[in-house]
Symmetry: none
Subunit: 204 residues, 4 copies
């Protein structure tokens, strides 16, 4: 009725925000375009003005997420003040912590799960996230901190653990369990990298 015009960039993001939230809450298949539309409070046509289909907004949401996720990890990888071990620990602790600001993107593996679009999601992990972690692992090897026979597979396993724990554990654990789980997980990572145990302290 009342026509509210906004900067297209803003509108587009409003729609993606609502879509992201709903996809995570109810899953992609159980979220209708109308749900998103209602949430934003625009007309049916407005949605399709910005996105050709429901599928397209999902793509956009996943892309946007990985862009910010990769950026976050990249910043750490590029940080001169930390050595490789510190970097990994920082990433792990951040992804495991409950409070995440915008700079610490929320776990979207839920999204993947609800979205039944695993391929696309895994591709992003493989192409955008794993290579950055690999850089850190290789840095650690060069620095002489890590001693790894199969860097590729080890990196992939670390990413796997972190990614899955990141979401899985959080779903079912209370805080104490989470802390213990993280301790154990971190210990596994240390051992995988052949780091002398206790060479770094978990915070809190």
């Amino acid at each position: 009725m009342v026509r509210i015009t906004k900067d297209p960039e803003v509108r587009r993001n409003e729609l993606m925000d609502a879509a992201e939230r709903l996809f995570l809450e109810k899953g992609y298949d159980h979220t209708s375009a109308s749900d998103i539309i209602r949430a934003v409070g625009v007309a049916q046509g407005t949605f399709y003005y910005y996105f050709k289909s429901k599928d397209e907004i999902l793509d956009a949401v996943i892309d946007r997420y990985f862009e910010s996720y990769a950026k976050f990890i990249e910043q750490i990888a590029d940080d001169r003040r930390m050595d490789a071990l510190q970097k990994l620990l920082y990433i792990v602790e951040t992804l495991f912590s409950e409070k995440r600001g915008k700079s610490r993107p929320a776990g979207h593996r839920d999204l993947e799960r609800k979205v039944s679009q695993h391929e696309r999601y895994q591709q992003h992990i493989d192409e955008k996230i794993t290579p950055i972690i690999m850089r850190i692992v290789k840095q650690g090897i060069l620095e002489g901190i890590f001693d790894v026979e199969y860097p590729t597979e080890t990196t992939e396993l670390i990413v796997l653990i972190v990614e899955h724990l990141h979401d899985d554990i959080r779903l079912r654990d209370d805080r104490k369990r989470r802390k213990t789980t993280m301790k154990v997980a971190w210990s596994m990572i240390e051992k995988a990298l052949n780091v002398p145990p206790g060479s770094i302290q978990l915070h809190s």
Copy 2:
């Protein structure tokens, strides 16, 4: 037209087989009741004679799967001829191997993924699979083979790794990579259990 009567149990299983296959292929949400019906070649009504809803057949499929999965792991856990380490290795190797007979159930984490019913699935893992593995881990501790500070969390992590690798890796890896990945993963498990490395040999 032609009315074909079968043993109800047979019919029921035919429907579940078709449903399982289709859910794995296309996902639960993208499989329609009619798809299942068409695959089996019965009438619409027949489906609803056996299952109250599409949801119910999913439950039945998951239950049936976990029943056979748990049974398989249980047999190993109960096997007197292996020690705890051998049991774990046997389970890991079986789940990672390509050829699985009926006694070696196929990975259904795909199903979970496509089914967007993670909760139900995870619950089965937590309630049926993890406890059995836990028994093995505790057996190992008693046998003095394992040295674990947090058995619960460690077991959960092992299950997590095995479960996810089981599917994830298989999707994207060639054989050689798979073998290396398994080697690395097994090595992580050994270290998590504080087993002296090389105390057991990976087959092949």
Copy 3:
């Protein structure tokens, strides 16, 4: 609400009848599936139970029409009691007459026009109608009644005239004009076939 089950053949034809009528009245594009559904008084799903799409029911309607049209012309072509000229005249007069029973199918070039599916329609004419007329023309040549240099093209032209007049004229002419037009058209056909003029009488 009240569920009325009918012989599928009957239902299917009910839907096609309504579709045919509406397509002719308002045109294909201005007829919605819901219009057809409402006209028949069934549920939305019933339509799609019988036809996969609006496009498919159009196909079915055109096919059905041409089947009956071709059958009608074929009967005449096969009639032993008439010579070639009588047959042509009979066809022309029938198609031009206002009252047509079921054996004298109504002009559907309107449909084509409204349907913007000329290709499909023309194909039916070319493949089903023209060959039958061609048979009659050739019969006439053998009988020595017709004298035609280019039978193929002449037949096509006759079909063209008859087909178009059939619908075009009817739309805008009053009865007297129609009669005169038919007289003139028939005279053109006679001349095209080099029939001595007046060798046969137009009725009424």
Copy 4:
């Protein structure tokens, strides 16, 4: 963004050109206002600044076409250097020829067909084209070249043949067939006008 201002007349014609092309290609109903807008590269609003509705631009396109068509035929009708038979032959040959410059308007019966606006189109034929041909026929009668009992109906039939052949034949015929068809058609027209056969030669 960049605002390009043009002579309104130019803009208007750009829009009509695009509309005409698209209507002929895909049909009126399957051409969206946005298609036209995109083709020209203007904003949504610009279209509606020039035309109140999609319907109105169709009217404009048809009118523009018939204006040029009628003008072309009128010039021939007014030409003092040809007798009536020459004029008709010239028109027929032009409409049948493949290459047409701007002075030889393209067949728009396709348009009608795709536009499902037969009434409007036929009205233009009846009001603008048929009368001019009628003038030529009457001229021929006065000149003593034609001998026609029912000039009105005969003229209408000639127009009908020419109009339909013009498009129909062209769609499906190869060149040789087209030539033969034209020969046969012209022969029918000659006979309809009772012109002694061979009193004029077809070119090429």
